[in-house]
Symmetry: C2
Subunit: 410 residues, 2 copies
Amino acid sequence: MKNKLIGAAIFGQSGGPTSVINASAYGVIRTALDAPEITHVYGAAHGIVGVLNDNLYDMGKEDADELKLLMNTPSSELGSCRYKIKEEHELKRIHEIFEKYNIRYFFYNGGNDSMDTCSKVNDYMQRIGYECRVIGVPKTIDNDLVGTDHCPGFGSAAKYIATTISEVYKDCHVYDTGAITVIEIMGRHAGWLTGASALASIHGLGPDYIYMPEIPFEMDDFLRNVQRTFEEKNNCLVAVSEGVRHRDGTFVAKAQISETDGFGHAQLGGLAARLAHAAGQKTGAKVRGIELSLLQRCAAHLASQTDIEEAFLAGKSAVEHAIDGHTGKMVCFTRENDHGKYRCGITYEPLSVCANMEKNVPREWISTCGTNVTQEFIDYVLPLIQGENERLLQNGLPRFAQLKKIKAEV
Amino acid sequence: MKNKLIGAAIFGQSGGPTSVINASAYGVIRTALDAPEITHVYGAAHGIVGVLNDNLYDMGKEDADELKLLMNTPSSELGSCRYKIKEEHELKRIHEIFEKYNIRYFFYNGGNDSMDTCSKVNDYMQRIGYECRVIGVPKTIDNDLVGTDHCPGFGSAAKYIATTISEVYKDCHVYDTGAITVIEIMGRHAGWLTGASALASIHGLGPDYIYMPEIPFEMDDFLRNVQRTFEEKNNCLVAVSEGVRHRDGTFVAKAQISETDGFGHAQLGGLAARLAHAAGQKTGAKVRGIELSLLQRCAAHLASQTDIEEAFLAGKSAVEHAIDGHTGKMVCFTRENDHGKYRCGITYEPLSVCANMEKNVPREWISTCGTNVTQEFIDYVLPLIQGENERLLQNGLPRFAQLKKIKAEV
């Protein structure tokens, strides 16, 4: 029989936002509000920073219909942070807040850095004997979390990228004079998103070359490839990851690094324009660099319905697993074969397995030449981008959730 | 009674593509194929360049269902060009081709430069006494054509911009540390598209400042505004037109000009990154520059159904007007008040009125401070972005028209 634990819950969002992170928020919040074991549901303003600053919202005071609109609202509705817990006194402070609000459930939605936060909170509470259940909810467009088949947020970003590449393909093949177009896609260390551009090839609209961080970047090879294709086809479309690196491990975009985020990661950008310029110098062709930038992670209008539903499921499963007596786990997806059709299953892995690790695209899913992906890669991604979402529109524009965000009181 | 003219028709596309230019193509091609007066329908490969090079496609040999998919296929399916007719021998060559194929109808789809081409072809044929009817079909996301209430292509680009601004607003307001985000929008001389970003304000997600080409740009004012708003709100979102100019008329983005297009227009770009960088230097804030680039003109997945239907109507009306005996005109839209509801009407203006002219946003539709638009502007744009399109999807991705493009023979 499970050990029934009565108390309040905190939910927080951390790291870069996605199109569907709020669907996970709704999964956690709705399920927690409906659970008899959970007395209050609090939302942390800007993730763990809101906990440290005693800045919590009372989710029980929100309108139910507005909460439901979280299913199609992009970005992190409660606010996000990039904050790494480094000191014992921070964990002590979190414990103080937990005591103050009688928090017995902590749900944290983010990527591998956020799972590190989650893991530290869990370990500390265990160590001091404070009864509390901590479950991580995965989230990252980068799809690089270990322990899960794929990550909520990835399918929608992949759908956006494949759709946009298809449309840009049509646009940049329009002139008689031809062009070289370089599209820069997010993914600091893993090429999942950049590889997803290959899905556009299903309808013949994919890039000629795909440069992923898993394969060392050689400028001479790049220029030779682009020149050859431009000469053959009078056109060339290239997808490149922001995270491509030289053989010595330095970022190709390193000249553009001007600042680092809170975790010491380099902020990348400007790569598309630089590579396009170099290609133009080499070939004399008209060139254009396009950076998909924030658009690829916030384009809720193109979110995959499969991804939305799975993101909701991840949040819901986190609450159910905690109520069932578990702690220190991250919700993970498995890939089930349901009579030949894709189905997403749920499992749970220790936070320690998921935290701070990164999962790259396997070498065997990258073509031998290193500038495209294999059919296995396409078969892996394709089920995740299926389904058009049904979002609320008013005046022809998206109507997102409008929460009251009433400050919590004990 | 009208003068019945039997013969073949050529249709061509010119200038920058849009999300809906192929809906106009379908309007022309379908109507022409169905018209008893028109013996053959030819598509010019890359607009007038295809005519000059005798490179025509036989549209009668296309599959009817594939042709219909043009309604939701972005970019210029027959290929586009930026070619200005300068010499008499070019018009003579066009006449040769017209004679060869017995062309009696010429439909040309483009912006103000294309109407110049149209006008020259019409004048020449009149002058030499070659019986032929020439009708221009408007097209430009820039919405700057004279003689028409609005232009096909604008509504879809406006819908994309307003939707994207809404989503980016959510994304860039997510961190506790705040940010300044500058979004660069197309529009070389007119601020219609940049102004459309204000539609996102309807749901409270609009930019703090809108910089349009109609108002001289002062860097000091820009930096002062951004700093004040960032200090007040810990965030600032700016929409800026690629075409903003200093008081002396030089482009703010001029440092980035590396080449010019075939009409001698400056190629602009890189402005968002530069302004964001300057704002960061001034305030110390985290900054990001985003260029919507080609995405705003090829995002068929977000095309306004109103715009698609009007684009089709423009093409259809061109053919009907020519069959009715008219020439030297451009199809124009009027704005009708249908019991308080918007309705699009059709009229026809002389090509000479429409060619080479540009329509700016009226000063009275720009707010007194010069960095926003008025309610009149919003009321003007809003009907044009209404309606979600029903596009064909396969594998969760757009399935565009796949034409055979069989070379025409006499």
